[in-house]
């Protein structure tokens, strides 16, 4: 069996780690690293029977992930200190939100930039306060800058001068020129407060955003990780509230994200063994493409199907922009190379 399938089986609990041969671990660890999920795997297998070298490596990874998570949450805290004086509300998104809410998927999860959501009319003020508090624009191509402001769903990225960490300030969760337009006002007004005191999306909105980020927004980079987030959060939300699937359907409909959310659920079933209710538990031939993309890693961590990767890159841009703009954007990007 391929390393990537073994990796997925280990996470899903379908494979006993003690049954792996010592040399199988090279491939599994290689895949896990390339998907930025090594510490996630380390948490999943924390109590398993492992070769000593693997157990030690996993202990290193869990410890390092704890440090990294504290650093990431600190960015959220410093953003709060910068924005609090004028009362600008913001909602944490993605990794920082999962950590702030102490969710299962946050165990060992790598968090990159800080992503926050503010209301559209607050975005200029937020920008000024962050600049005052020591963030600055990441130097960028002027075309990219105009593109970001007019068409993307965030300010151009900012980086903190002293701490050297990035923040992405969003006012919707998908680009303004996207074919789907989630309801940003609803996202913010229906946010909930996490145990750490930060606002995060409510459960149904969080699952919608996760699916949107994975399928409608990105080019499926980091797909296995985003899918794992979706799988564990929906599993835990359902355990806390059996009516969750219905709420999720409702919210997905409000945001125009039903297709993405249902697809994410089916892929969670196919890869991670999620149990789906009626109405969700069907087969869709188009899922095959997505599954192939998710499994396209060899045991040295390389993407095995570059054509597939191309197809997703083009598709993700197609979803983000009206066709006329797409051609110009790709042409400009290509010219610069």
């Amino acid at each position: 069996m391929s390393a990537v399938r073994t990796f997925v089986d280990l996470l899903a609990g379908r494979r006993d780690p003690a049954a792996l041969a010592p040399r199988d671990w090279d491939g599994v660890i290689g895949v896990a690293r390339s998907e930025a999920m090594l510490a996630t795997l380390a948490h999943s297998l924390a109590d398993a029977g492992l070769p000593p070298a693997v157990a030690t490596l996993f202990a290193d990874q869990r410890a390092a992930a704890k440090v990294a998570q504290a650093q990431a949450l600190w960015e959220a805290e410093m953003a709060r200190r910068a924005l609090a004086p004028t009362g600008i509300e913001f909602v944490l998104l993605k990794g920082a939100a999962y950590a702030a809410a102490d969710m299962a998927c946050s165990a060992g999860r790598q968090i990159g930039d800080l992503d926050i959501l503010v209301l559209a009319h607050d975005i200029r003020r937020a920008e000024n306060l962050l600049l005052k508090a020591g963030w600055e624009w990441v130097k960028s191509d002027p075309y990219d800058d105009a593109y970001y402001r007019q068409h993307m769903h965030e300010l151009p990225p900012m980086i903190h001068k002293a701490r050297d960490r990035m923040i992405d300030v969003h006012h919707t969760i998908l680009p303004r020129t996207h074919r789907i337009t989630p309801d940003a006002l609803a996202l913010v007004s229906d946010a909930v407060t996490s145990s750490a005191g930060f606002a995060v999306l409510n459960p149904a909105d969080m699952a919608c955003h996760c699916a949107a980020h994975m399928l409608a927004d990105g080019d499926l980079q980091g797909g296995l990780r985003n899918l794992w987030d979706f799988h564990t959060m929906t599993r835990d939300f359902v355990a806390a509230d059996p009516g969750f699937w219905g709420q999720l359907d409702g919210r997905a409909s409000l945001h125009g994200l039903q297709s993405a959310v249902h697809r994410a659920a089916r892929l969670s079933r196919d890869l991670y063994g999620a149990a789906l209710p009626d109405g969700w538990d069907r087969q869709d031939p188009a899922d095959t493409w997505f599954r192939r993309r998710l499994f396209a890693r060899d045991d040295w961590g390389r993407v095995t199907d570059p054509l597939l990767e191309q197809a997703f890159y083009i598709r993700s841009h197609w979803l983000r922009m009206p066709p006329v703009m797409l051609a110009k954007h790709l042409w400009t990007k290509w010219r610069k190379r």
Binding site: V67, Q71, W74, E77, M78, R81, A133
Partner: protein
């Protein structure tokens, strides 16, 4: 500059280790290491548990050190407090 009020880090948040002329401070919340010199360690020490501004700090420091509680100490302390806030070691109250 307005004399802003600041609050120190909660007990246990900072690990402070003197290293000769420098003081190394590890902030357990941010995982950051700060290297500071006088009067930063003295200021942090003087702040204690309650909120404090430059004026209040000047009084406390004068009690411990041989300082004139003259007007010119306060702007300096206000600047230092602002720097400590940028480092995350104190917070605006």
């Amino acid at each position: 500059m307005t004399d802003r009020t600041y609050r120190a880090a909660p007990p246990g948040a900072l690990r402070i280790e003197p290293l000769g002329e420098l003081t190394a401070i590890f902030d357990r919340r941010s995982m950051q290491t700060h290297l500071v010199v006088s009067p930063m360690p003295e200021i942090l020490d003087a702040m204690g548990a309650d909120a404090c501004n430059a004026a209040g700090l000047a009084t406390r420091l004068a009690a411990a050190f041989d300082l004139d509680v003259a007007e010119d100490v306060k702007p300096i302390l206000a600047e230092r407090l602002s720097e400590l806030a940028a480092m995350g070691l104190v917070e605006r109250a």
